[in-house]
């Protein structure tokens, strides 16, 4: 609260660059038409924006950029009406932005702790922001492990980041796995929770960030808790159908909370008490 937010009327932004990530997933680099906004518009890791694709509508998208020293962008898989229309746009086209909304990851509370990231598929999109931030501030955190699962080797996204994450930064490890091995793949084959076997980090001063489809989420949670991680040290970011982003339309209600204003970042302890499917 108190931070600059575009609440009601979207601000126009230009698509400066489009990158193909993996099949059906593209990254769009955006900058505001009103240049003054680029410096005012500050995001927190874990927040989201409401993006208008003119003519198609508005939808919520999580933010992969780190809050500092990272070009503003969103990474989107084409699944619905708005995302499909976004994928059809070209460099130079305009979109509308409201936000940033949501609570963001609790970096202050986890200072000094070890961090394990577990992401399945495009679950990496919201976690990328946090990983890049933590890597930039490595001295504030303990050891860091990133476990990424994808269906096939081609489905591992953010190739440039992966190269850096796997380059042997002291105290930082990154493991990849695929569900389906293919000739030439020398890495792990299996679901992402199996990568936790490779992570040699004591659980007593550790938090885990988990994001991915519900089936993967549940398996990973079980695995982490089995290793002694408590539910308040498991952090996730939830996805919901959203229309307003400001706590009014109520579409994103889960139990007593609204994902747009109370979330999207929840601890597993909170998720358990919501009384609803995630």
């Amino acid at each position: 609260m108190g931070d600059f937010k575009i609440v009601t009327v979207p601000e126009v932004a230009t698509i400066d660059e489009i990158r193909d990530e993996i099949k059906d997933v593209k990254t769009f680099y955006l900058s505001f038409e009103n240049k003054a906004l680029d410096s005012q518009f500050k995001i927190k890791s874990g927040q989201f924006i409401m993006l208008t694709v003119f003519g198609a509508g508005e939808a919520a998208f999580s933010l992969p950029p780190s809050p500092e020293n990272d070009r503003f962008h969103i990474t989107v898989r084409t699944v619905g009406k708005v995302s499909a229309a976004l994928h059809a746009l070209k460099v130079g086209d305009k979109v509308g932005i409201r936000g940033p909304f949501g609570n963001g990851f609790p970096f202050e509370e986890i200072k000094g702790k070890n961090i394990i990231y577990v992401a399945g598929g495009i679950g990496l999109i919201p976690l990328r922001s946090s990983i890049v931030h933590v890597l930039q501030h490595k001295q504030d955190f303990g050891r860091v492990a990133v476990c990424l699962g994808a269906r096939t080797p081609e489905d591992h996204m953010y190739k440039e980041n992966l190269k850096e994450w796997q380059s042997g930064v002291p105290g930082f490890e990154c493991h990849l796995t695929v569900d389906i091995g293919v000739p030439g793949w020398t890495g792990e084959v299996g679901f992402v929770h199996t990568l936790l076997n490779k992570v040699d980090i004591p659980m007593d001063n550790t938090v885990a960030f988990v994001c991915g489809p519900p089936v993967m989420f549940n398996t990973v949670i079980k695995e982490l808790m089995g290793r002694g991680l408590s539910d308040e040290n498991i952090i996730s970011t939830l996805e919901r159908h959203m229309k307003c982003g400001i706590g009014k339309c109520q579409h994103c209600a889960i139990g007593r909370t609204l994902v747009c204003t109370d979330g999207p970042v929840y601890t597993y302890r909170q998720i358990k008490t919501l009384g609803e499917q995630i």
């Binding site: 979207p10 229309k243 400001i246 706590g247 009014k248 579409h251 007593r256 204003t261």
Partner: protein, 351 residues
């Protein structure tokens, strides 16, 4: 406090119509139903009409409204955005206490949370409210159980009470007082307040027994809904009876879920529309890609009653979300209006 002759009471509405677009209860000739709507001629207003079929929430939250217009074409690559706010001044004349309470719920929800809803504020901020004490409760009414009637206690500019040949006029705000002073009405005294109390007491006494019997049960059920100690069977039973029509949410004075869609209005122009939505619809929580975390109907029904009755939702409204108007009970084809749900849960508690 003032008095106005019964035959002159609509002069208040007439005076308001000089400055405001007046909304009031009107009995529709064709159907005999009451609607609370904009009136062209204030003489159409009937202060003794039965409870309006729909609450006046559409005055602040229309069923369908354009909130934004924009133009964009791939060729020009220039976006022009224009917001559309309703800046008309509205007077709600002859509002019932339950509906005023519903409006207060909406006020607190739209204007009192982390974010203020600008669209709502524009509807609301120039409003003049005249309430009317209910001297005759109707068959489905149970405002006595939800602390929202039959007389309004706060939040009005003027409150009217039928004292026989006169109406007692009480001012509840500076704006209301200034308006009444201007009309040089006859002054009222404590004896008239005493008469008002008699009218209210009589009104309370004539509520259907089901309403007065339920009084204690509402709070008991609220506790159960909050703590979650309600058997799945009860929600399944309620879910089985739900037609998923959304009528309960549309006639509810405090239900305010909305959907937003952009629709074409010409080749390069679009309107952003905000429309009522209902948590009883299957697509309510469905995400792009098809994942729907709230699929079974009993799951969705459960959420509406949770929203109305749980303590944790009270922070939105600073009171229970139900105002006891009885409309959901009246319109529900599946007999699962809120009072019946209270009854089902009550049976489960007592058995």
């Amino acid at each position: 406090m003032y008095l106005i002759k019964k035959s002159d009471v609509l002069n208040l509405a007439k005076e308001l119509s000089k400055e405001y677009q007046v909304f009031g209860p009107v009995i529709q000739k064709e159907t005999g139903q009451t609607f609370f709507d904009k009136v062209e001629d204030v003489s159409e207003i009937s202060l003794s009409a039965p409870i309006p079929s729909v609450p006046p929430k559409h005055a602040v939250f229309p069923q369908l409204e354009t909130i934004m217009k924009y133009k964009y074409s791939g060729e020009s690559r220039k976006a022009e955005i224009e917001t559309v706010f309703d800046t008309s001044s509205k007077a709600l004349f002859g509002l019932r206490a339950c509906d005023l309470t519903g409006l207060q719920c909406l006020d607190r929800f739209f204007m009192g949370q982390e974010f203020v809803d600008e669209v709502y504020v524009n509807h609301r901020k120039r409003m003049f409210i005249v309430t009317n004490t209910c001297n005759v409760p109707f068959k489905n009414c149970f405002c006595v159980c939800t602390d929202s009637g039959p007389a309004a206690e706060e939040g009005y500019d003027l409150n009217l009470t039928d004292l026989g040949d006169h109406y007692l006029v009480e001012a509840g705000s500076e704006k209301g007082k200034a308006f009444a002073e201007k009309l040089s009405l006859e002054a009222a005294n404590d004896s008239h307040l005493k008469q008002k109390k008699e009218v209210v007491d009589k009104s309370i006494a004539s509520f259907e027994t089901f309403a007065t019997d339920s009084k204690a049960w509402i709070s008991r059920v609220m506790n159960r809904v909050t703590t979650g100690f309600i058997k799945e069977d009860v929600w399944n039973y309620i879910g089985d009876q739900c037609f998923e029509c959304g009528a309960c949410t549309f006639v509810c004075p405090s239900c305010s879920c909305f959907n937003i869609v952009d629709v074409a209005n010409g080749e390069t122009s679009h309107d952003r529309l905000r429309t009522w939505d209902s948590c009883s619809y299957e697509g309510y929580s469905r995400m792009a890609g098809g994942h729907n975390p709230r699929k079974p109907v009993e799951d969705r029904r459960n959420k509406r009653f949770f929203c109305k009755l749980s303590y944790s939702q009270m922070k939105k409204y600073l009171r229970p979300g139900c105002v006891g108007c009885g409309r959901c009970d009246w319109v529900c084809p599946g007999d699962i209006g809120l009072p019946n749900v209270v009854t089902y849960i009550r049976r489960e508690i007592t058995e």
